[in-house]
């Protein structure tokens, strides 16, 4: 099995966000919201860090 860096990030963020959403909030609506928030932070943070590394190199 091979994964690109980005697909690995997406899978990692998806599964981790599901667990965080369920365990860190009490009501289902807030679970979905917090899970989505975590997912966006994981993926957005990775993309931002990637651009920072690109900027440092150039």
């Amino acid at each position: 099995m091979t994964l690109t860096h980005f697909s690995a990030v997406l899978l990692f963020a998806l599964f981790t966000s599901i667990v965080f959403g369920i365990t860190m909030r009490s009501n289902p609506r807030m679970m979905v919201r917090f899970g989505a928030f975590c997912f966006v932070l994981f993926v957005g943070g990775t993309i931002a860090a990637s651009w920072v590394m690109w900027a440092i190199k150039h």
Binding site: M1, F15, I22, T23
Partner: protein
């Protein structure tokens, strides 16, 4: 959106209030079941959707890690970092135990992508510990059912 949507100071529940929301399942049983089989603690507490999501998440991360030829840590290497990796892997419960019993997985990282696999396996274990502790909190009444 804030990360602490539930933060507004909820006073700690008094023992009487906790007892009212307490589950008939023992917290220790929920914790152990949740560790052994991902999601089982929530299933015992009659939360089947949460249980299924937790099982799929942890099992998928573990499975992807194995498919990426990630390293399975063992306790007796003498390296402190390996012991930490072992503790994380052991968090997966039966998934880790069965993997070791069947002698699956790799004892070292042999290809570049396997390093991702190693992290997926370790994080699957850590997430399962978080889920098991959540089941314990639900059973003890610390978190509302």
């Amino acid at each position: 959106m804030t990360t602490n949507a539930q933060a507004p100071a909820q006073p700690l529940k008094k023992p009487a209030a906790r007892a009212a929301t307490k589950s008939p399942v023992s917290p220790a049983v929920a914790l152990f079941a949740g560790w052994l089989i991902p999601g089982a603690g929530h299933l015992l507490l009659k939360k089947p959707i949460r249980a299924a999501l937790l099982f799929v998440s942890v099992a998928a991360m573990f499975g992807i890690g194995m498919a990426l030829e990630g390293k399975i840590y063992t306790p007796a290497t003498g390296d402190l970092l390996d012991v930490l990796g072992f503790a994380a892997d052991l968090g997966s419960g039966a998934l880790y135990i069965v993997t070791r019993m069947l002698d699956l997985g790799h004892s070292s990282v042999q290809i570049a992508i396997a390093d991702y696999g190693t992290k997926f396996i370790a994080v699957a274990g850590l997430l399962n510990i978080v889920a098991a502790v959540d089941a314990h909190s639900l059973a003890s009444g610390r978190k509302p059912l």
